[in-house]
Symmetry: C2
Subunit: 434 residues, 2 copies
Amino acid sequence: MKRQMHLGLFLLGTGSHIAGWRMPGAVDSFQDIEAVCEIARTAERAKFDLIFMGDNLNADPAAHPSYTARLEPLTLLSAVAMATERVGLGATVSTTYSDPFTVARAFASLDHISHGRAAWNAVTTAAPAAAANFGTQHPDHARRYEIAGEFLDTVKGLWDCWADDAIVADRESGLYIDPARVKPLDHEGAFFKVKGPVNIGRAPQGHPIISQAGGSEPGQQLAARTADLVFAVVQDIDEARAGYQALKARLPALGRRPEDVCVLPGVMPVVGRTDREARDKLNALMRHVNASNALGMLSERFGVDMSAYDLDGPIPELPKADTYHSFTGVMLAKARRESMTLRDLYNLVAAARGHWVLCGSAESVADTLQDWFETGAADGFNVMPPYFHEGFTDFTDLVVPLLQERGLFRADYEGTTLRDHLGLQRPANPNFPA
Amino acid sequence: MKRQMHLGLFLLGTGSHIAGWRMPGAVDSFQDIEAVCEIARTAERAKFDLIFMGDNLNADPAAHPSYTARLEPLTLLSAVAMATERVGLGATVSTTYSDPFTVARAFASLDHISHGRAAWNAVTTAAPAAAANFGTQHPDHARRYEIAGEFLDTVKGLWDCWADDAIVADRESGLYIDPARVKPLDHEGAFFKVKGPVNIGRAPQGHPIISQAGGSEPGQQLAARTADLVFAVVQDIDEARAGYQALKARLPALGRRPEDVCVLPGVMPVVGRTDREARDKLNALMRHVNASNALGMLSERFGVDMSAYDLDGPIPELPKADTYHSFTGVMLAKARRESMTLRDLYNLVAAARGHWVLCGSAESVADTLQDWFETGAADGFNVMPPYFHEGFTDFTDLVVPLLQERGLFRADYEGTTLRDHLGLQRPANPNFPA
């Protein structure tokens, strides 16, 4: 069988376009569990590998109106687990503002509840405003990645405290747990001290899937060492190929094979029956953009108040941001390549928060995705619909069938766990060799 | 209408009897989401006010085999929300090992997902072993309650950051959030510094229900000031009446009415068609008790290794425990009243972890509950079945109909939220007066 594409659905607020909720009939609340379950079932009908929930740890009504008020990812996905049967469920949780014991048990719990469909999107939290909600200082970029590395190792260690067969539950003898098959972790590192064992048995997937999206040097290195799935921020195929190959090139030195990590660039598809129809849809979306929201988001991404600059002038020299390294780098590179004004840049951010916008007929969208997939730019895509439901069903109804006809994407699930969908092996448990 | 009894179902492990899982056909895994959903639906068919999940933050296979490996409460109850429609959903989360921002958003999320059925059982975490999983020292009892008080106030403050009508989502104007209807919290106290606002709109119940179970002086005072629901550890009616009246007596000075707080003593019912049948069931359960588990649990509760003492001798003098104040106090009082041996005491703990065991025919169980309810000992009961499903359906099928016939318990839900079931008003929002 041909190598298969993987598809994730990214859920953040009412859609990835800042003003998508204003489209006629669009979902306009991200606190509506029934709407989210319908989105998840649409993804499952289209045989997506997973849906995954972004997150932020501060409310920012000015920059992010439609996703400031929203359900918390773990509780949300646990509910979605009950409304679906096969699609993977990825929740974003920060390594800067949580702790390994809590995260290990919560994702193991989601994995048990969903029968092996959990993924943890481990982020370091870019927005410094989060710190004020936790009574602490936001660590700088390098420090955040040091913390994240130890955090991830600790969580994985907790997931290996229990042998798969530790729970005996023998009614005759009364033995419930075999004590020889449960071990403490006894982790003591620079940032965390965690005794363990965790208070939940080993997860159906062994380890829930780990995804990451960091684009900086330490982010890439962490992903290469610890992630199963990488979401990439890209704007064109050359950039995507370079990033894809650079990430895969890191793997052998870490004892991993290229196929051990799936790289999924983010893409906001705007799909019509013709290129013209798609372009009209994008124009309709862009007409709804509110300048102050767009400038607010741009200011937040770059950590600089942009309202002082001339909208129709060139993009000012900006200090190197400590936040959103990959977003800001990718966007500025494109903006300078294309001699954008500040207005052009904010339109770019408003469209998909800095991600790649792919606008065209279903045929042309499928052609482009195939080209990326077959020429070393992607193992699949993280699909970021501009709004729901139509902005997503345009993709599932028009583009997915073309990918299936071309033998690039599954016609049905073959396994039951997210690991099965991604073609990744269940990790052995080093504490309890077979 | 007569004053109505309230019923909660307590879920911890495979049942409240330490060896309940060994009964023929009993649920023997607490990681089985389908079994938990069936239990929740049974509670809902019996029109229970709520189910509520206990929790611990350390794995203790020796003392608590059947609930050491278990699902995390918030993810579990979010899944159960999708399998039920009316029953309330209470999750235990510690104020010592979490943070207010995380807790506020998670319970608001569960409240949105369940359409107003969330309750937070706020505990301070008695077991010092938890600290080792969080790289910290276990604060002493008094300090834990000081932290808890500020934690609860902060969470309630976060729940009031959003006016009920803050989310406008006006497609025409593009206004998503009315900025005048969202306020930061700006909390700065001895233990927490939380800016806010929280990143989720106001909960359907305004505030999710708060429950507590602390029996010590600071625990009682905290409950009187902040709780809607109090779970009490009792062994006899005189003790229960005294505790009930003492708690209600604290309320006026705090500006609260007696009916603002529901007091539910915990009870493990063992129900038969006759008293003899019930006694046989309890004996069958007790025959399954494993001495080392029972001594392990006793040692953990009292913070003293009990294995050194003579099982058939008198109960030794024990140092005052810093953990489980109400458990240890209530159990020791009963043990001394009844001149128990250490073996009697461990059997008492093994039966229901120190809670009241009520064993008898359905008629006699209903009579006793009615007596407690009508003579100032309880507003209802926190039902702790010894095992599932039979140990619970004995109660729902045999006892609940008697309570309904007597007009003491609802024949059906009248409202949709947990607040409705408990007869508690939705709190006004002090930040946004009507």
